[in-house]
């Protein structure tokens, strides 16, 4: 029981002692909380020197007082002794100040007071106690002062370091040097041995050690640290806040990484190096000795991390920008196509070699501002250039158009050209010009070929036709019935041959984009009547009825429209083999005239309705009889109507018949439509 109570007592005293010391530390921490920095680690010799200085100062003060006593009297103020306490505490803080106090107090008791006289016990004791108390008070104040001063100093130093790193980050071209320099500066400022700068690898599974200090040298550039939450760096990212570790061995939030264990790290701080989209990585400082890092250390470290983040971000954007610039420069300089940058007023500011060689100007002439759209463009294309500039102002981009450049030697070069505004604010445009001389030459040759081919093909047909008809005429006179019938059939075949040649020529021209229209104003009903009469003359089996209400003239190529109507009529006859009526009707609408050709024949399936206007498409069903033809008629008709800015369509029911309709814009709407349609 006694033992127990004793042990209990001891324990209680221990606890009380601990509490006291805690209270003491807390007191200083509280009073100096604002600038709570790690005290600089002074060497033991430095501390010893401060205590020796305190003792020496005390001895000096006592001697000075002794020498002044004859003048000032024995009860003279203890001002000299307090000076010794003050100076010791000023430089050394609490310890040296207390040392000086005790020394001075002892000396005072020994020299100035009759210490061993019982009669004067009060006289000696009270001043001594008062002196001691004052000394302690002064020591406390001096300790606070010293701590605050050192904190301030540290803070100033940290800010200087932040400024320095910031400057370095601005000037630095190489991230690696910046990392090394930063590690150097923060380790010396925070007086730690280890610093890590980890970059989070894509995939966020691991970190790479990009830089730092203290680690084995070969680890930089590799030293993979897990990015999962069980490492300190991973946990920092996950928690999205700085992490202060006092003792890594006792840490429960995460495990120590291999890197830290290998270097026997105990304490440390890690902060996130932020990034625009994802964090760049983690910055950490570590010490092998156990150390309580403070909030201020952490703020400092975060400030540094932010600077690094800005620097990496900037570096990244610079790299991206340079890459983009290089790519676009390559686009410009590849010289696959002539490219230029020009003002809206036509002055060329930049041009690539392809363009310069196309127009025959030198780069010097370009620099001197001698290249101007108006000098380059053949005069008849000025209106197209002006339209392009109007488009630039309104739409920001021009249509692709063809014009002719006149090069420096006066040679005309057909080009395909398009321009686009650089941005909405500037009056600059970027443009591309493609030399299409070869294509134009080919087109010209093809055109020539078409003319020659048609001439050559038609020549034998012409004489064949003349001779056949002549013979037919002869035999009509001589009443040789059979011969006349055969000759009539021959004549029909010759006509078909002529039509085929014409169709082939039309297709060739459509493909070459050379189907040219010769538009004129004519009476549509007259044309319909003529065509119906012509086709009616060829068929005895069908009756073609014309119902036209159109009185207006239309603006179109009369022959081409006649060709379309003929084509629709012959189709109607061909595909209603039983012989029925065919109805041709025409009426005027708001914007256009509608013409339709209706038969009551076999009709067209839904699927075929979609496709019959395609080139060379022929309705070809297993169960149906096949009908002669190349499948060009409807395609040519559609192209002709399209070029008139009209539409062509079909409505049909299998077994009931088909109705082909097309429309042509009224003359007053023709140009309006021409401007809105392009083909």
């Amino acid at each position: 029981m006694k033992f127990l109570s004793f042990s209990f007592f001891t324990r209680k005293r221990d606890i009380q002692k601990k509490k006291r010391s805690l209270l003491f530390t807390k007191f200083f921490e509280k009073t100096t909380r604002k600038y709570n920095h790690q005290m600089p680690n002074r060497s033991i010799w430095w501390k010893l020197m401060q205590y020796l200085l305190a003792i020496a100062l005390s001895i000096l003060a006592v001697n000075v007082k002794l020498s002044f006593d004859p003048v000032l009297g024995k009860d003279a103020p203890f001002v000299f002794l307090f000076t010794a306490v003050l100076i010791s505490g000023w430089f050394g803080g609490f310890g040296p100040a207390i040392t000086a106090t005790i020394c001075c107090d002892l000396a005072a008791i020994f020299f100035f007071l009759p210490a061993f006289s019982p009669l004067h016990i009060e006289r000696a004791l009270y001043p001594s106690l008062i002196f001691l108390a004052e000394g302690v008070f002064m020591a406390i104040l001096l300790e606070i002062r010293l701590r605050n001063m050192l904190s301030l100093k540290a803070r100033v130093q940290q800010q200087a370091v932040i400024a320095q790193i910031g400057q370095y980050a601005l000037a630095s071209q190489n991230m690696q040097t910046l990392f090394e320099k930063t590690a150097e500066l923060i380790t010396s400022t925070l007086q730690v041995k280890y610093c890590e700068i980890l970059e989070l690898l894509p995939g966020k599974k691991s970190f790479i050690l990009r830089g730092g200090k203290g680690w084995q040298e070969d680890l930089t550039g590799q030293g993979l640290v897990s990015g999962e939450e069980h490492s300190q760096a991973g946990y920092t990212l996950l928690a999205n806040e700085p992490v202060i570790v006092k003792n890594l061995q006792k840490e429960k939030r995460f495990f120590s990484s291999e890197l830290l264990t290998k270097h026997r790290i105990t304490s440390g701080i890690t902060v996130i190096i932020p990034g625009r989209r994802a964090p760049f990585g983690v910055l950490g400082i570590f010490s092998q000795k156990k150390r309580a890092f403070t909030q201020d250390d952490m703020y400092f470290l975060q400030a540094v991390a932010n600077i690094l983040a800005t620097a990496t971000e900037r570096k990244g954007s610079e790299t991206t920008l340079r890459e983009t610039q290089n790519r676009f420069k390559r686009l410009f300089d590849s010289n696959i196509i002539g490219a230029f940058i020009a003002e809206f007023n036509g002055k060329f500011l930049e041009a690539n070699d392809a363009l310069l060689s196309l127009i025959g100007y030198s780069r010097d002439e370009l620099r001197e501002g001698k290249i101007h759209r108006d000098n380059l463009t053949a005069p008849e294309y000025y209106n197209l250039s002006e339209k392009a500039v109007r488009d630039l102002r309104t739409k920001g981009i021009s249509d692709v158009y063809e014009k002719e450049y006149i090069n420096k030697n006066g040679k005309r070069i057909p080009v395909l050209i398009a321009v686009s505004r650089v941005d909405t604010k500037s009056n600059l445009c970027v443009g591309f010009a493609l030399d299409i001389s070869k294509q134009k030459e080919l087109e010209r040759r093809k055109d020539e070929f078409i003319s020659i081919a048609s001439h050559e093909l038609k020549t034998p047909v012409t004489s064949l036709k003349v001779l056949t008809q002549f013979l037919k005429q002869k035999f009509t006179a001589t009443d040789q019935h059979d011969t006349r019938t055969y000759l009539e059939k021959m004549d029909k075949q010759v006509t078909k041959l002529t039509d085929l040649i014409n169709d082939l020529l039309d297709i060739t021209k459509i493909q070459a984009g050379q189907l040219k229209l010769h538009n004129e104003l004519f009476n549509l009903t007259d044309l319909l009547r003529e065509t119906v009469e012509d086709v009616q003359a060829l068929t005895a089996t069908h009756t073609i009825k014309l119902r036209s209400l159109v009185k207006d003239a239309v603006l179109a190529d009369r022959d081409r429209i006649g060709q379309v109507i003929t084509n629709l009529l012959t189709n109607a006859i061909k595909y209603s083999p039983k012989g029925n009526d065919i109805i041709v009707s025409a009426k005027t609408g708001d914007d256009d005239v509608h013409i339709s050709v209706e038969d009551f024949g076999m009709g067209i399936t839904e699927e075929n309705q979609q496709r019959i206007f395609e080139q060379f498409y022929r309705v070809n069903e297993k169960n149906d009889a096949t009908y002669p033809g190349l499948g060009m008629g409807l395609f040519i008709s559609r192209e002709i109507i399209k070029r008139h800015h009209g539409t062509i369509s079909v409505e049909s029911q299998v077994g009931k018949g088909s109705m082909f309709s097309f429309s042509l814009p009224l003359p007053e709407k023709f140009y309006e439509k021409a401007n809105s349609t392009s083909y």
């Binding site: 048609s454 020549t459 012409t462 064949l464 003349v466 008809q469 002549f470 010759v494």
Partner: protein
Amino acid sequence: MKKQTVLLIDDNRDILEAVQLLLEDAGYIVQVIDNGDYATHIDKNHLPDVIFLDMLLSGCDGRTIIHQFKTREDTKHIPIILNSAHPQAKNFWTSSGADDFIAKPFDIDALLALIQKHVRKTLP
């Protein structure tokens, strides 16, 4: 009735032969020129009543020949019927100075009617 004369100018002998056959059968006197300096080959003592001219001739443009005939005092009154196998010819023959046009290949009825029409004009 005096027979009318038609001058055929074409560089293709087959066509010339066929048309000549046709026209002679129809009662015309036919002159034929198939090469060379077309307009200068004309028989000044026997001027044709109608000229039937191909537009695209080897080595010479039909329009040049029209010009030659139409600028000569003794031939400028003769009607010229232009013919061509060129697909666009019917669209620009009017500017050539010819009096009429027929596209190849042509129907003989249409051709005979056309020649008849112009011959009649030149009759006194």
